[in-house]
Amino acid sequence: MSVENVIEVRGLQTRFGSHVVHDGLDLDVRRGEILGVVGGSGTGKSVLLRSIVGLNRPSAGSIRVFGMDLDELTGEAREALEQRWGVMFQDGALFSALNVRENVEVPLRAVPGLGDDRRRALAELKVAMAGLPRLANDKFPSDLSGGMRKRAGLARALALDPEIVFLDEPTAGLDPIGASAFDRLIVALRDTLNLSVFMVTHDLDTLHACCDRIAVLAEKRVLTTGTMAEMLKIDHPWVHEYFHGPRARAAQPLDEGKG
């Protein structure tokens, strides 16, 4: 199977004033894979996500999504590209003045000629697919728990059936049952929709359960990428500590070695 990179980051440098967050960072995301991005606090995981979706302007380097350079795109071409990805922010980032269904309808309004009834029905379908009960449709973000807000954020990110989904800490703050349901949901969506997923996470269970590859951010660049099994063999002190610490051992599934 030929490997197609949906995202290619080359030589990325990000700086805020004199503070350099990334320097010479390279990263690939392949079509249909779930890539987990890990790293210590303040290593710029979320900044990397924001740079790829164009919220931060890198000071050097190139970011190509679907083979197109974001900086070179303007107007309609950029809009068309942005409709091919969905972003779920850490706390859902739902519009507080709209209820859940209306939030999911926002991206659907970009579809020309889509009637109100169909838009509503599609939004409710996305809400249901994100694992929210039907009653949640009419609720406002302030009435939802953190986990429900994340699911609603995912429903909005998936509204236009994007090819890439960016998830910022999707399982942080969820109870273990909710978190593993979220993991299963992401894998199921990837399998049925051939999604590529870029996931910033600290959750070792999630890394075990759904990530095909893991990229470790440290020393201002991607230190290493590889499968979970490969991660366990790396002897960089931070990586070793991360994947062999007490929490990591607890998270290792019993049937390790399937991949």
């Binding site: 996305k126 039907r134 059936d161 929709l193």
Partner: protein, 363 residues
């Protein structure tokens, strides 16, 4: 799998003997081209791309009795997922109340919420007084630094705007009064006009309105954003009483500062009036002062005695609105503007009540 531009998604539809053949991309972008009506048979062998919106369409057709053929394995899987998510039945909407009952219902709710508002204001006033008494009994619990800080914020920083506004009001009064009084040759009474209007009513009322705009909004925004971020809950768990920490210093600072601002405003208004009288009517400052000493001092007292009451109104309304802020940013903005409008409105009503009261007791 290729990745065509979503806006260039193509779907062709051909109808033969009741069998509709769909070819190309059945995705959200091409969904609007499909009619709503049920189709008996769908041939999907030419489908290259299917997304959840397309699968939703197919599953609706399936539910309406259509037979699907030629679906690839991958697409069938997606269809199952979507159909599975749609199983939850649509609940029947609650039957609507008759119109007259809806109106009664709304009116009743409004009345009750209005009464609740007054009860809550009384509660916050009570909380302020209780905190004040507690601070008198246990002076160590009182936060002097906080009080001084809020005195500076609500008092000192409002001095320039209050001074300027009162000065201009004095100018306007002198100018308008002069034009009218000149018709009777009674220009010199402009001094009485300015003195009584500024000292009795305008000086303190306009100061209170400015402070209501500045401070009530600041109170609501500050307390409201603390409420939003659960800081007030954190305070409670740390054994700090929000009444002592937040409400007491803020409202007390207002009560202390508003009379002072009122006095500054009185002086500025008189100065403005004197300057304009001098320019417009040729009443020298010495003559202005001489006339001014004939005006009863009770006018100034009547004005300033209202200040602490206005301060309490502004402070209590501002703190109450801040505590009512919910968890969304929307309610913060709404409460802030409500607090300002309510505070200004309440100050004017209180002023009217004072006027009636003072005229009844012949002050």
């Amino acid at each position: 799998m290729s990745s065509p531009d979503p806006n260039r998604a193509q779907l062709t539809r051909s109808d033969r003997d009741g069998t509709v053949a769909l070819q190309g991309d059945l995705v959200v972008w091409t969904l609007p081209t499909l009619p709503d009506g049920a189709v008996p048979r769908l041939d999907l062998s030419g489908l290259s791309r299917l997304d959840t919106a397309g699968a939703w369409y197919l599953s609706r057709q399936q539910a309406a009795g259509a037979t699907l053929s030629g679906l690839s394995e991958r697409h069938a899987e997606l269809l199952d997922t979507v159909a599975g998510a749609m199983t939850e039945p649509v609940p029947d909407p609650a039957p609507d109340m008759p119109r007259w009952r809806q109106m009664l219902d709304r009116a009743g709710r409004r009345v009750v919420s209005g009464l609740v508002f007054f009860r809550e204001l009384a509660e916050y006033l009570g909380r302020f007084v209780a905190a004040l008494l507690r601070a008198l009994r246990h002076p160590s619990e009182f936060r002097l630094t906080s009080l001084v800080y809020h005195c500076q914020e609500t008092g000192l920083r409002a001095v320039p705007i209050v001074t300027l506004m009162s000065f201009l009001i004095g100018v306007v009064l002198a100018f308008q009064g002069a034009t009218q009084l000149r018709q009777f040759g009674a220009e010199v009474f402009v001094v009485d006009l300015i003195a009584i209007a500024v000292l009795r009513e305008l000086g303190i009322l306009l100061t209170a309105i400015i402070v209501a705009g500045r401070t009530a909004s600041a109170l609501t925004a500050a307390i409201g954003s603390m409420k939003m971020h659960e800081e007030i809950d954190a305070m409670r768990t740390l054994g700090m009483d929000p009444d002592m920490v937040l409400i007491l210093p803020r409202v007390l600072a207002l009560v202390l500062m508003l009379p002072i601002l009122g006095l500054i405003s009185d002086v500025a208004g008189l100065v403005g009036g004197a300057v304009m009288s001098w320019i417009e009517l040729g009443i020298s400052p010495a003559m202005f002062l001489a006339r001014l000493s004939d005006v009863e001092a009770s006018n100034a007292l009547v004005g300033l005695v209202k200040a602490p009451v206005f301060a309490l109104i502004i402070g209590v309304i501002g703190c109450h609105a801040g505590m009512k802020v919910g968890k969304d940013a929307d309610s913060l903005g709404r409460q802030t503007s409500t607090a300002v409008v309510n505070a200004i409105f309440a100050v004017i009503i209180a002023d009217a009540l004072f006027s009636i009261f003072f005229s009844e007791v012949n002050l």
